[in-house]
């Protein structure tokens, strides 16, 4: 199950639309959500595929920014709640991004110096 990717994609899209839908016009909060929202959604979509599944982890950092940002002010209540709730949901969901059952030829790790690639036809 790609729970992390689903929550990330929906959460990112929600952040993009939330300033307009909830009516918070504060520049700092709305811009923050409109910058981080597309990044989170894009990371989640890219991580849908097995070969790029590890790409989902930066969303933990982006989610942390959402949760912490209201502490520094400039967030009306609606923006603060949106940021904290969405950020927590994404952070909690990120570990549940699914497993890599059959990494192609040993996956990206096979490219590292001390890890020989698995067989495969050449």
């Amino acid at each position: 199950m790609r729970i992390a990717q689903g929550v990330g994609a929906i959460g990112g899209l929600w952040l993009m639309g939330a300033p307009a839908l909830l009516g918070y016009t504060d520049r700092w909060a709305s811009d923050l959500h409109r910058v981080i929202g597309p990044l989170i959604a894009a990371v989640a979509i890219i991580a849908l595929w097995e070969v790029t599944i590890a790409v989902r982890w930066p969303n933990v950092v982006l989610a942390a920014v959402l949760v912490v940002a209201p502490i520094f002010g400039g967030h009306p209540a609606a923006a603060a709640i949106t940021g904290v709730v969405t950020g927590l949901a994404i952070a909690v969901a990120t570990p549940f991004g699914g497993c890599v059952h059959h990494p192609i030829g040993g996956g990206w790790r096979a490219l590292t110096p001390h890890h020989a690639p698995e067989g495969g036809s050449t």
Binding site: R34, W108, A110, L111, P117
Partner: protein, 136 residues
């Protein structure tokens, strides 16, 4: 080329974006640059057949390089639309989704080519020749 733009959701958002200063930042319109990018994606994605990861690694790597920056540029434009112009453009968003969706499927082929080149190197053969598909 066209007098109007289709915009079902965001009012005059598409016109605002398409006539914004960012659209004219480069000597050629960014829409033309995007079209050229998609053409490169289509050409490098379609050519070479299913075993091109080992026959033509250069093409696969070029495909990966073309898909990555196009996706990154699309994300940047999606961020700039509301932040700089307080507007969204439906077709730009659709284009960005397509660009981002292409990245994952492109990377498995890039990985296969990279692993192929790694095996060539481990065998002591020429990575340069393998990259260009010489003798494959």
């Amino acid at each position: 080329m066209l007098g109007t733009v289709w915009e079902p959701f965001f009012g005059d958002g598409s016109e605002v974006i398409l006539n914004s200063s960012i659209s004219y930042l480069l000597p050629i319109p960014d829409a033309a640059l995007g079209a050229a990018g998609y053409l490169l994606d289509a050409a490098t994605g379609a050519a070479g057949g299913t075993d091109r990861w080992r026959r033509m690694p250069w093409l696969v790597i070029l495909f990966g390089v073309a898909v990555g920056p196009l996706g990154a540029a699309s994300i940047l434009l999606v961020i700039l639309q509301p932040v700089a112009y307080s507007a969204f453009c439906t077709l730009c968003l659709a284009s960005a989704v397509i660009s981002v969706v292409m990245i994952g499927p492109a990377m498995d082929e890039v990985l296969a080519s990279a692993q192929h080149l790694r095996r060539v190197r481990d065998r002591g053969d020429s990575v340069w020749k393998a990259f260009w598909g010489v003798g494959a």
